[in-house]
Symmetry: C2
Subunit: 208 residues, 2 copies
DNA sequence: AACGAGGGTGAGCAAGCGCTTAGATCCGGT
DNA sequence: ACCGGATCTAAGCGCTTGCTCACCCTCGTT
């Protein structure tokens, strides 16, 4: 178990960086709606309604429905990448850093699976420029995980025949948690994180 | 390597079971469109256009757009389950059967990733009864994989602390191949299948 | 007291949606 | 030669969509 209790600071609220307050309410409503029904099946009226506002209010804070998705996707990817980097930049052995990365990354995808579902599975609904921007962030996530595995192999901690293939598999495994994870299910985010960290260590052939 | 060569029989053509020919053309067009843009972003006019027909022609062969998705989903899930069961019902050791299952399941998800993407990720667009029917098929896929792992543990071949969690992870890993796999990418479906079979054997602690 | 800027609304526009209908065309059976 | 069913189309109906516009309300400032 790692340090998880903390004083409620400035940016601990999930969408604390989004202001003003009405814009945040709209964004939170959009995340819920997109996660439940998908971007294309969600109407701007539905989003505004969930936020307790008229349909026109949405366009005071966002130019288009697509801009809303982009904001969600951007903030979510930034957060995901930050989580991976925090673990990767530790100074323990590669096995420990990889386990940390998977554990916290998976925990985030489980705990905030509504957000993660939108962030990870609605990429294609973005316009070309916005999509390109997000794809670049994903490349950095990939590079971060790959680096840990590379270092583990170099240090003789891991035994991995195909580093880039294994990297893709590890990220895919973690991301897909947001698709099947259910808050009403048997497992807590912490439990899934622990299970997945163990599975990934096995995948890279780390000795226990 | 398992038996995979067979004489081109009645049902080897991907959508051979769909008749008449115009209905099949529409269904194939729908698979492509749904995979590219998602169910909700696809219009009936687009589907009919890809099949070289007028929008109204669709409704001669299918009652609604949702019925098209259901037909695709049903046939796809049947095929996926059949693949898993063929491997699970083998008579070798559990490790071999698990590797076979993952290899062929992954190969299908890579080779036919357009179909698989629709089948695996557009479940929520189905109506309640159709969704329930498909969910039941997924439960059977889960049970099939779990059985192999259970038997491997019982035989002392595997070392798995959490069988149901590992089952979910294995299936999730395989299914997500259809999301990221790209025909233009570096890897062939066979290569991904082999890589994933190896990774999964590691996940269950099979001695090599 | 008057102001102006920003946040909000009700009504509604143009476009596109899933789907229907009336009628044309094809074609094997008698 | 004629029929009847199956297949397909042109046109379009009723509705919803993303988004806009003219207007109103609430304030801190002067």
């Amino acid at each position: 178990m790692s340090a998880a209790e903390e004083t409620p600071g400035v940016e601990d609220v999930p969408w604390g960086e989004v202001t003003p307050e009405a814009a945040r309410r709209l964004l939170v409503a959009a995340v819920e709606a997109f996660a439940e029904r998908g971007y294309h099946a969600t109407t701007t009226r539905d989003i505004a309604g969930r936020a307790g506002m008229s349909p026109a209010a949405l366009y005071i804070h966002y130019k288009t429905k697509e801009e809303l998705l982009h904001r969600i996707s951007r903030i979510g990817h930034d957060k995901a990448l930050e989580i991976l980097r925090a673990a990767a930049d530790g100074d323990g052995p590669a096995a420990e850093r990889l386990a940390d990365a998977v554990r916290s990354f998976v925990r985030w995808h489980a705990e905030r699976h509504t957000t993660a579902r939108v962030v990870q599975y609605e990429l294609d609904a973005l316009g070309p420029e916005h999509r390109a921007e997000i794809v670049e962030l994903r490349r950095e996530s990939d590079a971060t995980v790959r680096r840990i595995i590379d270092e583990g192999v170099a240090a003789g901690e891991f035994e991995v025949p195909d580093v880039s293939g294994t990297t893709v598999a590890v990220l895919s495994l973690c991301i897909d948690v947001s698709r099947w994870f259910n808050t009403q299910g048997r497992r807590t985010p912490d439990e899934v994180g622990a299970l997945y960290a163990d599975l990934v260590l096995r995948m890279v052939g780390a000795q226990k």
